[in-house]
């Protein structure tokens, strides 16, 4: 497993590279075919963190799918009041939807990110919207976040080894967390 090094400011831990979003259909397609419908995987982080698979019918094959490895405790400590990360798996298409409330006071941010990729790694959607108590900020994207750099030239929200075409669920969640954390403290 590749270790993705974090920028050297000490505020973020290194992370292993997981399955890129566009490779998830390799795991999900058999289940989509078996159940004749899309299925969802949801990791919810909050008072009680849980992970769900949702199917339109009972699968008749074993479920082998790389569930996002999210450290619920860490995300809670980072400041998420609640966070739901949902993967909608269709045939040859993976849609990542991240929705949550960052902060536990009146100034909490309502965060929504969406990244959709097909099996040949075409990005069908990449959107990040944040609502503050005084209105919605102009929408941005995960791609834009990855371009932001610190004065030193280091990526500000991404890790050194993060590559846009190879982004995984854990990487997107980590990047968005870092971004909203900075927004809150600004």
């Amino acid at each position: 497993m590749t270790i993705l090094r974090s920028p050297g400011d000490g505020s973020y831990t290194d992370r292993e590279a997981k399955v890129p979003l566009h490779e998830l259909p390799n795991w999900g397609n058999a289940l989509v075919v078996n159940t004749s419908r899309a299925f969802q995987v949801r990791c919810s982080i909050g008072d009680k963190s849980r992970t769900f698979f949702r199917f339109a019918k009972i699968p008749t094959i074993p479920v082998e799918f790389p569930v996002p490895e999210l450290d619920a405790e860490r995300y809670n400590m980072d400041g998420w009041d609640h966070l739901a990360i949902t993967l909608n798996m269709e045939k040859d298409l993976a849609s990542l939807d991240l929705q949550g409330r960052f902060g536990r006071d009146d100034n909490a941010l309502i965060v929504h990110a969406s990244l959709v990729r097909n099996a040949v790694n075409e990005t069908k959607q990449d959107l990040l919207t944040i609502e503050k108590n005084d209105g919605e900020m102009p929408p941005t994207s995960i791609f834009d976040l990855m371009q932001v750099r610190s004065k030193s030239g280091d990526p500000r929200y991404a890790r050194f080894s993060d590559q846009y075409p190879l982004l995984d669920v854990e990487g997107v969640a980590a990047m968005v967390t870092r971004y909203v954390k900075e927004l809150r403290s600004a």
Partner: protein, 194 residues
């Protein structure tokens, strides 16, 4: 390496197995998944069936095999269920069956919840709570109590003569519950004033 019983886990939803027969496969499934426990939930509602796997913290490091009774959705809803969640919680040497839902037969709306926990030596828990939505009064009973209700003739009222407590299939248990709930709504038509 855990072993999975081939006849019960061939990838098809189980049909007619008692909870006691699920104990070993449940242990195998949980061990193979790398999790401590797995909840399987079938949610039945008109034109809407959904099946869930649910687990707390952690992520599976192996495959998860479905081990869930295939129930006829239309049959269930025709009995009076508005919606029904059938849950099987799998853990090592423990299987928990939870049935909960909203049942309505004019004029009685009720919330139903049953929990039966199967351990290696038999049921560890057997409880039923029926709440009349009109009064919010809850009535406690158990599946054992329901099976022991008899007619004047001495025959069991809701169970069949061949039914044995502790070794019945889930679908059979649901059938007995349906009979009981039908009678329950008849006997609770009139709200008693205290």
């Amino acid at each position: 390496m855990s072993t999975i019983h081939p006849t019960q886990l061939d990838g098809n939803p189980i049909q007619d197995l008692p909870l006691s027969a699920l104990l070993q496969p449940a242990s195998d499934i949980v061990k193979a998944s790398g999790l401590e426990s797995i909840h399987q939930i079938g949610f039945y509602q008109k034109n809407n069936f959904q099946f869930f796997f649910e687990f707390d913290t952690g992520h599976p490091t192996g495959e998860i095999r479905p081990l869930f009774p295939a129930m006829d959705s239309e049959e269930l809803l025709a009995e009076g269920w508005d919606h029904l969640a059938l849950e099987l919680h799998l853990a090592v040497q423990k299987v928990t069956l939870v049935i909960r839902g909203y049942y309505f037969r004019e004029p009685v709306p009720l919330d139903f919840q049953m929990t039966v926990v199967q351990g290696p030596a038999g049921y560890l828990k057997d409880s039923i709570v029926i709440t009349d939505r009109r009064t919010q009064e809850a009535e406690n009973t158990s599946f054992k109590d329901i099976m022991e209700i008899r007619l004047k003739s001495g025959d069991p009222k809701y169970a069949g003569s061949n039914d044995v407590y502790g070794s019945m299939t889930i679908t059979r248990m649901v059938k007995i519950l349906n009979r009981y709930l039908r009678d329950w709504t008849v006997s609770h038509r009139i709200i008693e004033r205290h």
